[in-house]
Every structure is written in structure tokens, then in C-alpha cells.
């Protein structure tokens, strides 16, 4: 029962990414390719003979998705998540889960695109260490990756602020601020649910990126309206104990 609906929600999640949007159409032939049989004669190729492997991943790099269709799809996702939920927290958890697999994917896509552009610009130089970006090993490079490249990939601009918790009790908490999150632009939250922030979906994406990099984290979205920015949202990243421990070890080892 939940399964086909899950697929449709997955499709709409990939629509959220403006730059990756046209991939929805190119991903459709996949079930035909991944037939259980390994043999080539049983392989069914789409009529234009183009599988997802024949298409270039940078093709949709600068393509943008219509904001109206995104707003519609995201509204549907929220409505879908709202079914059978027990409360606001449960709804936010569901939105978070919708974003999580997207974060894992975007991470790989982000690095792939950085490699392919840097290698094409420096095609003649054979140095291997100069061009490819490094995987984040410490928390700070990871946060910069989210704050800069990831935000640009999703929303075409960097996030507005990056802060570390000042409280000595919670050194594992970091905050990323977005003054006007795109996902909340066309969402009106009823008064009785004013705790709800649908950017929990974006929090899920961030969580997927952190987890993918090996930084176990819990990410939540919180409303922090100001006079100027009524829909200002703070994403609170809480890293797990294992991450903080490793951070100390790496700091001693001098890894940046």
C-alpha cells in the first residue's frame, strides 16, 4: 500500500533540486534496465536506446525548475506526510525521512560535478592532487560544504549563517541559518501548528549529507522569525558522540 506512493514521493523529492530536476525523466527507464536477468539479450532498452548510463550528469547542471511546479509538488509531499501522523513531531520526522535519501545522492552528485568541471578546466595538467576536492574529514569542512556548495546546488545561493553553539554543555551543536527558505515560501502553517517547520525536509537532506560523510548527526529545523525575515529558519545539527570523539583524535593527529 505504502510502496507505490513512496515512489511518487521519491520522484517529487528529486524535483526539489532545481539543478537536478530533469533527471526525473531520465531516471524513468531504470526499471526496464534492471531486470532480474543478467544476460544482455533479456535487457530491455528504452526506445531511444539511451539508458541512464548514456546520459551526461552535467546536462541538467544549469537547468532550473519552475518554482510553481516545485511549490505544487512540495505541497503534495507535505500533504502526503501529514496523513496518519500522530503530531507535529511525527510530521517533521516524515519530512526528514523524505529528504534523507536525497542528501545521500546529492553528496555523490556534488563531488562528481566538482571533479568533472575541475578536470575539464585543467585537462592538460596531469597533477592528481590539485583538482579533485577532498572528502570532509573534520566537522568544519563538512559544514562549509553544506553551507556553500550544497546550498548553491539546491537553492542557487549559499546559506545565510553558520554558527557554533556558545554553550559549553553542547559543543556538538552547530547551526545553519537560512533567512528565507525556498521550501517554506508557499507553505502557510495554521496557527495551531505554529511549531511546525516544513524545512524539516531540508534538515533531512542535511542529515543525509552528514551521515553519508560518516558524521552521525541529528538535524532539526526551527522557526526563528525576525522583523525582517518572518520565515527565518535555523537548522540545528547535533553530532553524535562518536563524531566528537573522532574529532578530538583527528585534531591531535593534525588532520584538517
Amino acid at each position: 500500500m505504502a510502496h507505490p506512493a513512496r515512489h511518487s514521493s521519491m520522484l517529487s523529492t528529486s524535483n526539489n533540486v532545481q539543478t537536478a530536476a530533469p533527471q526525473t525523466e531520465k531516471q524513468l527507464p531504470t526499471p526496464q534496465i534492471q531486470t532480474p536477468s543478467q544476460a544482455t539479450p533479456g535487457l530491455r532498452v528504452p526506445s531511444n536506446r539511451k539508458t541512464i548510463y548514456d546520459r551526461h550528469l552535467n546536462r541538467s547542471r544549469n537547468a532550473e525548475l519552475s518554482r510553481a511546479s516545485f511549490a505544487f509538488l512540495f505541497g503534495e509531499m507535505v500533504t502526503y506526510a501529514q496523513r496518519r501522523v500522530t503530531g507535529i513531531q511525527d510530521l517533521e520526522r516524515r519530512l526528514n525521512e523524505q529528504g534523507y535519501p536525497l542528501g545521500l545522492r546529492l553528496l555523490d552528485l556534488l563531488f562528481y560535478r566538482t571533479i568533472s568541471t575541475s578536470s575539464s578546466s585543467t585537462l592538460t595538467s596531469s597533477s592528481t592532487s590539485a583538482s579533485p576536492p577532498n572528502r570532509p574529514l573534520r566537522i568544519l569542512p563538512l559544514l562549509h560544504l553544506i553551507h556553500g556548495p550544497l546550498w548553491r546546488l539546491l537553492f542557487n545561493r549559499p546559506a545565510d549563517a553558520l554558527e557554533h553553539s556558545v554553550s559549553p554543555d553542547t559543543p556538538n551543536e552547530y547551526m545553519i541559518t537560512d533567512n528565507d527558505p525556498l521550501v517554506n515560501t508557499y507553505i502557510s502553517v495554521p496557527k495551531e501548528m505554529n511549531q511546525l517547520n516544513c524545512a524539516a525536509f531540508v534538515a533531512g537532506i542535511i542529515e543525509g549529507v552528514c551521515d553519508g560523510c560518516g558524521f552521525e548527526a541529528k538535524v532539526t529545523a526551527h522557526n526563528q522569525p525576525t522583523e525582517m525575515w518572518p520565515s527565518r529558519t535555523i537548522f540545528l545539527l547535533r553530532f553524535g558522540e562518536s563524531v566528537m570523539e573522532r574529532e578530538k583524535v583527528l585534531e591531535r593527529a593534525g588532520v584538517k
Binding site: 534496465i33 543478467q38 550528469l57 563531488f111 570532509p136
Partner: protein, 204 residues
């Protein structure tokens, strides 16, 4: 040169396996592994690859590059392990075994391995492996010194493996971007398999 390439998920589940031989310098692209016992050929590669995961996890946090280069060696079988790590923690591990062991094997074991390779090369009429076996280690080292197979830790080899890994990474990202693929699923697409073996032919 024989290769065994594996993709392992962050939780060590194998997602993809392929064995192939070199296509450079007259190779026919068929893997011929030499292990002390011929019966070990099917599983020793996987065993060696999985045993190198500890080294990989150590290197993972010391080196931020995606391509971790040559990380481990298994001297008894003269097997070399190179690794590539995607940002999302998936490991690409390539085992490569040069055509002739760098350490002299005992007479009985090399005889067993030799007879197996001979029967294989006779059927495909490939000369590179068979010639090396008949000529002994000295001549094989001379004939293949220009190919990447001769020296598994040379910069040219590292570069060739890096190119191979980058090409596989492209295919991997395309697989992952499919909405029907979930993390930890086996990669069954024959198109992907074809891409990987094409990359192997091209670079290794």
C-alpha cells in the same frame, strides 16, 4: 595482470563484483589468478579484498582524497590493493596481481598454478601469459616492463587505476541518482557491468 574489482557499501555489503584481465600489451582480458592452490581462485580474491578493509578505514580519516592509491599488499599471492572512496562512504576496491609473482613460489605450487594457466591460455591461444611462464620470471619481467602490469606501485599504474576508478565513479553516481536505487542495494544493471569492463579495457 589479473584484476578483481569490488564495490562495497559503507556497511561492508558487496554491491558489485567483476574479475577481468589486462587488455594491454596483447592481453586477452581474461583474469588468471595464481594462488597457491587452484581451488582458491574463486574466493581468495574476495578474502584478500575484505582483509584490506582495516587498512582502508585507517587511511580513510588520514587522507581526504577520494582515491587512496595503493593501500595494502598481500605478499603470499603478490596481490596489490588499491582503493577509492566515494564521499558517501562506498568503497571501490581493486585487487591487482602481476603476471609473475615478485617472490619465488615453491616448486610444487608454481607447477600447479602454471598448469592451470597453461590450459587456459592454450584454449585462447594467448601468448603473453604462457610465454612468461615458459620463459621464467626474468624474461616476463623484461617483456612487460613497459606495461602497467610490471610494477603495481609505479606512478603510471596509480594514474591508470585512478582513471579507471573515476570512470567507474561516474557510472556509480548515475546508478545512485536513480530514484529506484536505495543505499546498500546490489548493482545488477548489465549496462553498468559493461561500463566497468570497458573502463578496465581502456585503462588497465
Amino acid at each position: 595482470m589479473s584484476y578483481y574489482f569490488t564495490i562495497l557499501s559503507p556497511t561492508d555489503a558487496p554491491l558489485f563484483n567483476i574479475a577481468f584481465g589486462t587488455s594491454k600489451s596483447g592481453g586477452d582480458g581474461i583474469a588468471r589468478f595464481r594462488f597457491p592452490e587452484a581451488s582458491q581462485n574463486t574466493y581468495m580474491t574476495q578474502f584478500i579484498i575484505n582483509s584490506s578493509l582495516d587498512m582502508l578505514e585507517e587511511a580513510q580519516w588520514m587522507n581526504g582524497n577520494m582515491y587512496l592509491k595503493h593501500i595494502d599488499t598481500y605478499p603470499p599471492a603478490a596481490a596489490y590493493i588499491s582503493a577509492f572512496l566515494t564521499p558517501s562512504g562506498t568503497r571501490f576496491v581493486l585487487l591487482h596481481q602481476p603476471p609473475q609473482p615478485n617472490i619465488p613460489a615453491s616448486a610444487t605450487t608454481s607447477g600447479a598454478a602454471g598448469s592451470m594457466s597453461m590450459s587456459l591460455s592454450a584454449s585462447t591461444s594467448s601468448s603473453s601469459t604462457g610465454g612468461g611462464l615458459f620463459g621464467g620470471s626474468g624474461s616476463s619481467g623484461r617483456t612487460s616492463s613497459s606495461s602497467i602490469a610490471a610494477n603495481p606501485t609505479a606512478p603510471q599504474t596509480e594514474e591508470a587505476v585512478r582513471q579507471f576508478m573515476s570512470e567507474v565513479y561516474e557510472g556509480y553516481v548515475k546508478t545512485v541518482m536513480s530514484p529506484f536505487y536505495r543505499r546498500g542495494m546490489e548493482i545488477k544493471s548489465p549496462v553498468f557491468r559493461g561500463k566497468v569492463s570497458a573502463a578496465g579495457r581502456k585503462w588497465l
